[in-house]
């Protein structure tokens, strides 16, 4: 099983940017922890980060063909990118949406989640664990999907 861990805008600065909100672990360190867990549960992972909305759309499309599931932190695009929403709705693989910070406890505009209605589920506010639990969820959903397809449902 192959899972894409996709990160949106400004997440390349994680660990340096607003540490009181996002903690001090860098994106590389977070990816390391995800890779560890993935190894333990026998899953292959790829990582990509982009600040470009269109590039994230491209990667979601790619994931629809080359991956079994996506763990996706859309960053700020979670709040307004209908283009990404439509991309997520367009692909057959489960996309689990994760946020490190509790978006409901911040500015009002962060409570509008435009991708959430079409993502498979959301894990929010749990720091690095949001990714780790997101990986578990993605793997389980992908497993179910494979079994459903085998059974012809």
């Amino acid at each position: 099983m192959k899972v894409l861990v996709l990160n949106g805008p400004n997440l390349n600065l994680t660990g340096k940017r607003e540490p009181e909100v996002y903690g001090t672990a860098t994106l590389a360190e977070i990816e390391e922890k995800i890779r560890d867990l993935a190894g333990r549960i026998g899953v292959e992972t790829d990582f990509h980060q982009s600040n470009h909305e269109g590039e994230l759309v491209d990667w979601i499309h790619k994931a629809g063909e080359a991956y079994d599931a996506v763990v996706f932190n859309p960053g700020a695009y979670a709040h307004y990118s209908i283009a990404i929403r439509d991309a997520v709705a367009s692909v057959p693989v489960p996309v689990v949406e994760v946020h490190m910070s509790n978006v409901h406890a911040r500015e009002d505009f962060r409570r509008r989640l435009v991708i959430a209605p079409v993502s498979a589920g959301q894990i929010t506010g749990l720091g690095v664990s949001s990714y780790l639990l997101g990986l578990r969820a993605a793997v389980e959903l992908a497993g179910k999907r494979v079994r459903a397809e085998r059974n012809g449902t």
Copy 2:
């Protein structure tokens, strides 16, 4: 470590009520799965369900004294109970909010989450896994809190 798994209104009907939304597992079966995982990771769990807002407030208060963490599915109260919100904000233990269905993909009024700004994190839309991942998150947060207290921070 002792975790309270608290369920709000109408969740006693899970498995019977709108199975296309909530699945066919009954609340007892869900609790069984949670207990299984709890056992495997060495955590003690108690379960309570209530349709009464005030009773949920009472239990949150109680959890503040007698439990290390709460996995809480507030059901419909998630969308308007400021009383429960204030209860969650009043207790020192982490309260992880979980929802089986993807509240963002249903009626508009379910996108208003009044407890979320004060809950420790939210796990949404992943069916029974919402509880299981919620338990993992609660345990981790409770562990951090204990270590922080020991270190005097």
Copy 3:
């Protein structure tokens, strides 16, 4: 056929409270009139009133198993209780919503009816007749449901 007549908050004061809005008949007198009509059309009725949201949820659940239909005046909860809404949506029996006063002719907040989208129908503004017509409607809907079940639809 067995119909539950369920009354929500403050309706125990009917006849004493704001008589220019609710008339001077007490709840007991209203129930008497309902029982009369029920007797004439050969229906058994039970009556319950509660000021507690959770208790109303409990009774709706109970009605789902022990009654053929419900005539329900949710009182103020009509305007904000999503918990009761979910309870009504969870049970297979028809729930006819009734209001004695014309909620559309009063304060703005009474025009928001959160239970109405899932109740079988609404009868509003007709005083005691709201209950009596509600009983007739409930009996008819319950009859249809029974016939539909017999016919396997």
Copy 4:
């Protein structure tokens, strides 16, 4: 006693139009059922249907002089015709508003009821029964009005 049963726009298509919403009975068949009940309770009924807002205003005015009560299904005009609202408020006879479908369970704009604050009561969502119960309510209100006038109140 003479009751006008007045129907608004598109109701002439009932039975042909969106049968999953409005049932398969035609307007003529519905009127037949109303005439039946009227006969049984000793009431005379007239029927009129119009797609024209102004014509409905005219008929409400006429009803204020020539009828004892009105059973009125304003159709779509229920949601925006202030002209009809003012007509209903202008006449001394009771106007009972009926809707066959549950307007609260459909599009958002159908939840705005501009005539309801001045109609005597509303019966909603009960199909043909909305008319039949509406007739009973209209007759009762008209009776009360007559008695009140006799008593000089």
Copy 5:
């Protein structure tokens, strides 16, 4: 000079309908007073009342060709008829909008005036005087228009 005095829905009931809002003078009596003033200031007047939105549109069109000005009480249509608004905007003659009652002191929805942005001016809340002052204003505006046309501006 020829002025059309045009009245919208329910104004045929003036004097009978809600006398505390509209006074006790009937429409015929009001028209008599307008005719009196018109006679004194040497203006010819025609009167038309209709409850039909389309008919009012037709009359506004007609006025654009056969009258020098319009005194127009659109009644309830003032609050939502964009069709009438467009008719008023389409004709070259001045249309003075009048209301007998103070629309700002009544229900909120009466404060939305959709025709007002394209009517030549509004006179509101002054009872029968709203018409009389409206006639004076219409005559003056029509006079200016005639003079402007003569001067080629």
Copy 6:
């Protein structure tokens, strides 16, 4: 009979300021026209203009004691001064609100009229005629009030 003609902020610049909106007549010239008409109909007039909200409140209070009626152009304060609204509501004499420009045809914020619900009537969009017709209306309302007081109603 004594009428106060009261003008609000920026009206001292009339004739110089935005002539395409307000015309080229100066405030002095407008007052001259009003004085002319007042003379012809046998009414005494006083004039006051102020840019100060508090001063306008003071003058309304004064008018309540020393004048029979007020013709009042509140200028921009029409759109937000609740203090002036309360002043107008506090005095027993009729206050006719006038606007030279059609406030409904300009910026959205000019359509909010906070004084209008308590002013006796409004005359809007008719340029200098707004004042002249406003004077006629004020005189008539003051006359009615005097007669009513004499008759003890």
Copy 7:
């Protein structure tokens, strides 16, 4: 194939009214152009214009029985007539909505399109071409519908 070209309020004035918005071609000239195109593609056309909402409802109903498709410019009713919306939703033939002006580039209230959710498609802002392209679209949709019916889908 028979197509009804239906025009709403004020379109009888096209060419005379606000030519900077609607161009200088009269309705008769526009209809001539439509007839030309219809002739070339072998379609029969009828034309009707009305300022009356109810009459437009009547014509839509008629079209449901006697025409294969409708090209419909609802004029101002596009922005508030739920009655017409319901009529369009009630008939089985395709109704293509056309607007000569770009409604999105004008007043805010013209951006609310209440009929659009149930019309087959919309062509907006292209002047007379809106009708011509609308005719092509209507003919194609009607053709598809006929073929689908023949194939029993």
Copy 8:
């Protein structure tokens, strides 16, 4: 004279919960201070706290019969409980609403006060003094009511 001091949800935690908002005095200590003042001004007091909306409704009803006045801190229910609002409106005794914190200086949702329109008055933001001043106000209002009843007004 007998006054009920009624406290709503989470106020049992006062002194422990968010001390920077609510101070460090416990509910018992606050009640002690109230009892002191009550003793000094010769008033008898009873105290009740509940986290249950329905129970608060029940107590308000009870107060309507067994107490002369109520000092009521509705806690979070102040912001959404229409059921409690209706209870307060239903009883003849004065209910003075008190809040320890300044609800206007906190989250937006705390500025919505649904009970306030029917409570006798509100005292907000003054910590324990809110209760003490509330007691004084309640006693005075109850005294006036008794005197008014004696005088038959």
Copy 9:
């Protein structure tokens, strides 16, 4: 200790203006009662009333230097004067906001309280008692402030 009692617009008319809302006591009589209580609790009071927003700002500034506390009835400015809000936020002395009428039971616009977030507390709806309780609150807060300053906190 020296307390300023500051009154905003139209309060000079108290006792004459809308007595059903504000009672029949004049401002002078109210000030007399306040002076009485002040005398009894050993506090010096000054009184000022102004209809001018700027003057109220000036007085709040002055109070920041020459008084220990302010009892402030901002009248209508409570609902929109951000200038006064900023003045209150700028001074170190406690400003207790009082309203004689229950602003929550009147027009909607009176429920917007822009000064309240920065005033020390609010006492509303209790007639003359609002001032008297406000004086007690102001004195207590001023005392606490003095003691805090002495203790260097």
Copy 10:
């Protein structure tokens, strides 16, 4: 004449993605049909699709110099990209906006069309025909523009 057919985000998946909404024709097949029509009416076409907002801006700029018109399906960007709106407004060539699905019949957020006020016209809901009719409209508008430039208007 040279026309650019520009497609926005996710349209590369057309035919694979949500076929019940967008049909089963792939983008290549759609382009083929457009090329066919273009050939028949003697127009040269270029095609470009991008998921990147900035790239679409770049292409609109390019079209302003190298093409005579644009047929543009902005996809999801239609609902929020002010950057693209400004690009469309910046170029002198006509940009005809097309949508395959009826955006008014889908989620609420798709009814907000931010580019529409500056596009030359919109064709919506007609599937592949939206492009074909859009091409006809673009060609006509470009022709008019060329003629207008030649005539020096």
Copy 11:
């Protein structure tokens, strides 16, 4: 060249009031810095501060005649004074609006800027530099205006 530096409400307290927002420089010190820069670039400056809305209107009027430009910090009036807005729109000289604090980073109500649409430009959030840069901008705009007038444009 003569520039008026005009300051609105509460700015007389600058340096004393909320220094974390407005810095510690007093208004006198700020004016000193402005005078310094003015001297260096050869401009004469006058300074005025007022807490009175009407007085600010008066000064804007005066500036229209006696100054070449205005640097204006409207303080809180920036957010609601339409009277000042109209004054600024009435005068021919450029008025540059300045704010020391970043109004967009504070309370929501400070983001509503009612004067900004008619001021020549805005400089916000740069502390004392807002004034200094505002002076430079005002001087440049005034220079352009003079040159344009000389050239007769």
Copy 12:
């Protein structure tokens, strides 16, 4: 000191696009003027323009490491790009936001400024001067920051 002058979407067309809004100077000419001023005050400048949101995020990140300050005209992204907002908030260097046109005097949607709450200040509506004054502001803020770091604050 090194300052990045960063320009957002469509600004590459400045001078060609809507000259009545943006003037006739091209971006190259504007950059020349900025370079001039920079030279005079001894600052090094780099220039970058992009229509791509993601590229602007990338450049802000780069500026956080390689520049002392940024003068940033976000163009249309100012109104909706939360991704750029987060980038600006993530970097330690001051970002001064500039707009050539007065965004408050244009369409409503341009008054929503999502980056402004985290930019150091805003200079709006002053044409090319917005950049020049922005450069001065950026230099001053960068200087302060350097000094603060040297002083260890």
